[in-house]
Symmetry: C2
Subunit: 403 residues, 2 copies
């Protein structure tokens, strides 16, 4: 069993770094707050004998020896970065629960057969640098490091510049190595477990997700003297496009998701018709073929705008639906049963570093419920009993996989 | 007659300051570019004996003596600031034509009876600091200096900080003084004069305009696991509101104008449902009572959003419809006739510093056509023949009003 108070205090201490007045966290990837949070985490790891390495994407690997030098490592981890107005648990919980698991083994002088690596993946959120899950994506060879290095935030700072500025650019090349298994404990970020009054989600896979950036272009002109009929106004393009897009996605039923998270106008002046309206599209569906068709139909609509306007579509990211490793799923399920915890299979609606990890080695995930299903919000909340239950399932799953 | 080459060269030299690769200008109010442009203008004024003063809003008054010390000054001017992607003529033309007029009088050793003040009004555009026409608005007692001082740009820099940083904070209090007449020469910024193949617009008044900022608020949550039915998504509020607003304004016929120049989401992250969508509304109509009714109906729509969302409306600016001084209108009309130029009466669709000036003294405006009616655009273009015609009408009108 893990030590509940210690886990809760790890989480509370980390939440202070980038803590917001509304009780959330703003510790975006590769900012000064992220640097401070990572340093605190490494201090805690050192106390229990963890040895850390940093790779060229800023991923952190904290190594703990095993008794059998012939065995492959077991990976446990998640991410420490947050959304701009994010919560205290998303990602953070998985990293700190892994730390608590290793601390509990250390307390009891237990060394497992396999070595263990606690991993902190860089820029999982994708809100500062697009796309999401960048550290694990490059590790798995699914995203390109040179492309990511050039990805810029809203201030024009590149990923590479941010790595250097925060001293997170490691010498180790970012590339996958063989591992026995990888485990990620995470909050559900949705309402299902809470609605089913279930403590543990045995994650069987992750829905597919596509990110696009749509630019509608017209012509800037003066808001006053220009007759409405002479305008090439991209906001009027948005006016007809938005209802069409939402209606289209609704045709795909309850499991389809659409989010327009970012809208901007260029120029942005009250008395000027903008030249461009730019918005992001996040489309998701658990069934990859349905996601493909739905995305195609939505992009078609974006292309069918009035001829006085033009539109451009950039693919920001595509993360296909995945199914997790059957042995990992069984191990998580077995651990929950052994601990007498309520548990159910669940498909993740959010992307996680495990999506990319699952393409290079046996991977599994554990979910715990969060209040009202709310995440990416300062109000994100998880009951201590669930935090503790999840930590114990992680401990028992690790012992099974690494013994 | 003015000297055409000199006027064109004043305009070409000024256009280099903040000049953009696409041939436009980005010399926003109280930026370093604005400071450099103003300094160049003052150098030119000094060469012909103009003596300048700066007031507490950064308005510049360049004084030229008259022969009769009992007479009130005649004001001539406009603004030097531009939109973020603006043109070379909007505002600038009126200031530099006034300079050219005084240069021509200086060449010919003519001193008028009345003193003359060339005025450069601060932050006319309203794109960096809201509202527009701030310098003339405070001068006329219609806008509040303390409120303007606290108006911030998108980087959080206040009007007062920008005044100090660019050394444009004068000791002269910004308040109106008696004047005999005020004249502003400007490009039409609309398509009417060009369509009518007319060189000179005798501006009889300016349409009314209202600026609002609308904030729709919901709840941030994760783009992936949150079912569509559980979301409080302000972008979905925008989705239904935009069509309703555009349809409502269309009911008011051809003369009604609506522009949504700025849309932003907070937070702005592809995989987070935003908490707020904020947009600006610029509503205009030549008849004040119609503008009032139309604005009320549009704001009603903004308030009638689905109950899971909330909305907030901030009034940014209200500039009532104005009619210019009948004597000024006659003088401009007479000057055009004397010069054998095609001319017609016109109502301005754009706001100008003259709107506020007309509330404290006799005021008139002269328009010249601009290509395709396009303004607030880097492509803004005016044929030299029109620039010269306008300059000559300004010269003859001044001589009439200041003799
Ligand atoms: N867990 C999480 O918030 N991941 C970000 C990727 C996504 O948008 O699903
Ligand atoms: N002339 C001009 O662009 N003025 C700005 C005020 C307005 O929006 O009409």
């Amino acid at each position: 069993q893990i030590k509940p108070e210690r886990l809760l205090s790890f989480i509370a201490e980390m939440a202070k770094i980038g803590g917001t007045p509304n009780g959330g966290c703003n510790r975006q990837a590769l900012t000064e707050e992220d640097r401070i949070g990572r340093a605190l985490f490494l201090d805690w790891c050192r106390e229990i004998g963890g040895v850390s390495r940093l790779d060229s994407m800023g991923n952190i690997f904290v190594h703990f020896e095993g008794t059998d030098t012939t065995k492959l490592p077991v990976l446990m981890g998640s991410h420490l970065d947050t959304q701009p107005s994010g919560g205290k648990f998303d990602g953070v919980y998985g990293v700190l629960a892994a730390l608590e698991v290793m601390s509990s083994l250390y307390d009891q002088n237990i060394t497992l057969a396999h070595p263990v690596e606690i991993v902190v993946w860089s820029n999982e959120e994708g809100s500062r640098f697009s796309p999401a899950m960048s550290g694990s994506g490059v590790f798995a060879g699914k995203l390109s490091q040179p492309t990511l290095y050039q990805s810029v935030d809203d201030q024009g700072i590149s990923y590479q510049q941010a790595l250097i500025a925060t001293e997170q650019l490691g010498e180790l090349p970012c590339e996958s190595f063989p591992f026995a298994a990888a485990l990620e404990l995470h909050i559900e970020q949705g309402p299902i477990l809470e609605a089913e009054q279930t403590s543990i989600g045995i994650v069987t896979g992750v829905q597919g997700m596509n990110w696009y950036q749509v630019t509608i272009s017209g012509e800037t002109t003066h808001a006053g003297p220009t007759p409405m009929s002479m305008r090439k106004d991209p906001v009027q393009g948005l006016n007809t496009l938005l209802p069409a897009i939402y209606a289209k996605v609704a045709e795909y039923g309850e499991q389809a998701r659409i989010t327009i998270g970012k809208i901007t106008t260029i120029p942005a002046s009250p008395n000027t018709v903008p030249e461009h309206v730019i918005f992001t599209l996040d489309l998701r569906h658990p069934t990859q073929t349905i996601l493909d068709t739905m995305s195609k139909e939505v992009l078609n609509l974006c292309e069918q705008i009035p001829p006085i306007l033009s539109s451009k579509i950039d693919v920001l990211w595509q993360s296909p639906a995945v199914e997790f490793d059957s042995r990992c799923i069984e191990v998580v399920s077995g651990a929950a049963k052994k601990l007498n915890l309520s548990a159910m299979p669940i498909v993740s609606g959010a992307g996680h570093d495990s999506v990319y990890l699952s393409t290079v080695g046996p991977t599994g995930m554990i979910f715990v419920p969060c209040k009202d299903g709310i995440s990416h919000n300062e109000k994100e909340h998880v009951e201590p009993e669930h935090l503790i239950a999840g930590g114990n399932v992680l401990l028992h799953s690790l012992m099974q996989l690494a013994q």
